[in-house]
Amino acid sequence: MKLWNVAGMAVGLVLVLVLTLAVFGLPVGPSLALIGEGAFGDKFAIARTLVKATPLVLTGLGMVVAWKGGMYNIGGEGQYIIGAMFAATVVKGVLPNPHPLFGPLILVAAVVGGAGYGLLAGWLYVARGVEVVISTILLNFVAVQLLRYAVTGPLQEAKRQVPESDLVPKALALAKFDRQMDLHIGTFIALAMVVVVWLFLFYTRAGYRIRLVGDNRNVARANFIPAGRVQLLSMAVSGGLCGLAGGIDYLGPAGQLGFNFPQDWGFLGIPIALLAGLNPAGVVPAALYFGALFAGSDNLARYTTAGPTMIFVIQAVAVLGFVGLSTLRLRRKTAAAGAD
């Protein structure tokens, strides 16, 4: 994307936001101020924006990998939940001896959980021909119920009173830089994953094959590249990234699992990936945009009567505005191409 296009898009999105606020009768100036303040007002606000962007970076990356491989994974939410559950299982296991060195192991478990759940959808497609879109919708529902079961059953806190897991012991929680701030090192893990995924997609054989199969399965077939296996891999990597997001949210901001653990970050990976143009590097600004939007609109909801539902409207319009603007651009492009 050219810088000029990015600028145009940004202006367009702000206009869309202003319009939405106006339509719902919110004072545009003060509302924008509240949103801006909530997203960037002070170091706390910036930290919140970053923390919200963290799972979005990871689920966005997850969607990029799957979609690049031609797999329409919309099961990020389920993979996120299962990842967190795997992490919580390990935490429960090492609870008697919560040594900080277990931290990486817990995150690996989250990756494995998410990857396994992604693979399940991949297998359903490759081996049984079940559309990924349909199977992942169903698997998302199943994951939510599994979570509910887990926190009232095997993963429930020690006293077995409330439907939650135990609070993650401090030693295992993701390190923070300032006790008063939300920022934790998970954000940097996510940023590192951007680099890793970027290297994976563009500098490894496996990543190359994922891109190739996603672009044209026939070429892969004619050159002895096992497309099914490659697509399974893309689902596993995708699920693993979403699982990692779940693990980080569990060890970081949430600190425990409960009914309300899933916050739609898995679903939101989809628009992030789209906004990023299916480019891992683009995921960072896209996730920051949404992170800031969420931190800002949370602030709006906190300090006005706009209410939590208003946030959904703002988010939805932000996505639709983006899709609308990008299809407009596409149309101009194809019109130009058709002219010759």
Partner: protein, 291 residues
């Protein structure tokens, strides 16, 4: 359970899934069906609360359902935008829109609403249920035998053949979306003015997604889809029965049952196109002319 009661509780999913059958047969997946149902549910309730007329409420639901479908269709059919992305966004929009309006109209701290309901006759049937029972064979017949159904199905199977035969894939799909949207709105309305006479945030509770899955479960046939919806409804009733008779199974696992069952059916049916029909070949694929 009394069969009419079973039908009544299965109806929201069944009606939405019936519409979704038409939509998927034309090659689209209406991911925002959940949101369409929710707006239908809210607007039906709102209009009934304002006017006292259930008929007007149902009409409002049809209109808003159609409007949501048009938005979805404009992006996905005419702009060839991704169905999942647009659908996800519209679901968010629906939650936000209904929630915001609900608060602004009925108070910040909420209120248990009770509005007029659809009158029943013949031991519990009502207009919408009759419509559903008539709609299944009618839509089944139209899809299978009529000119419209034939053209529509070809758009879901092989859009190029549709265009070669002289129909516009884009228009056919838009028409299918209208049917799917109106039925989605009606399905939502039936929750609020048919079953409960009330509305709450998110009262569709995932039924739209279930309806999408039921279309696959019912193998893209109206009768199959109705049976699938009844099956899930019955499984749900059974689940409550279990609880009320003290059977000790963790209820989240019971609640996952419908989805797991659907997945199992899909695994068994798998790629077998021959087994009671398969997915429309062009399902979920945007059609761009001249490609």
């Amino acid at each position: 359970m009394d069969p009419i009661e079973l039908l009544r509780y299965a109806a929201p999913v069944a009606i939405a899934a019936l519409g979704e059958t038409v939509v998927q047969r034309a090659g689209l997946i209406h991911i925002s069906l959940e949101g369409t149902m929710l707006t239908g549910a809210f607007f039906a309730m709102w209009v009934v609360a304002l006017t006292g007329s259930v008929g007007l409420g149902l009409g409002a639901a049809l209109l808003i359902g159609a409007a949501m479908a048009i938005v979805f269709g404009w992006f996905t059919i005419w702009r060839a935008a991704d169905q999942v992305v647009v659908g996800t966004a519209l679901n968010l929009l629906a939650i936000g829109l209904t929630g915001t309006l609900f608060r602004s109209q009925f108070g910040q701290s909420g209120k248990l609403l009770s509005v007029g309901k659809l009158p029943t006759f013949w031991g519990g049937l009502d207009l919408v249920l009759v419509l559903l029972l008539v709609g299944v064979p009618v839509i089944g017949f139209l899809l299978a035998k009529s000119s419209w159904g034939l053209a529509l199905r070809s758009a879901g199977e092989y859009p190029k053949a549709t265009e070669a035969a002289g129909y516009s894939v884009l228009r056919l799909r838009t028409g299918a979306m209208l049917v799917g949207g109106m039925l989605g709105g009606l399905a939502g309305a039936y929750l609020t003015v048919g079953i409960t006479g009330s509305f709450a945030d998110n009262c569709t509770a995932g039924r739209g997604f279930v309806a999408i899955a039921m279309v696959t479960f019912g193998r893209w046939r109206p009768w199959g889809v109705l049976l699938a919806a009844l099956f899930i409804g019955a499984a749900d009733s059974l689940q409550f029965r279990f609880q009320a008779s003290g059977v000790q199974v963790p209820y989240p696992l019971i609640m996952a049952m419908p989805y797991v069952l659907t997945l199992l059916v899909l695994v068994v049916v798998g790629k077998g196109k021959r087994f009671a029909g398969g997915a429309p070949a062009a399902l979920g694929q945007a059609f761009r002319r001249g490609e």
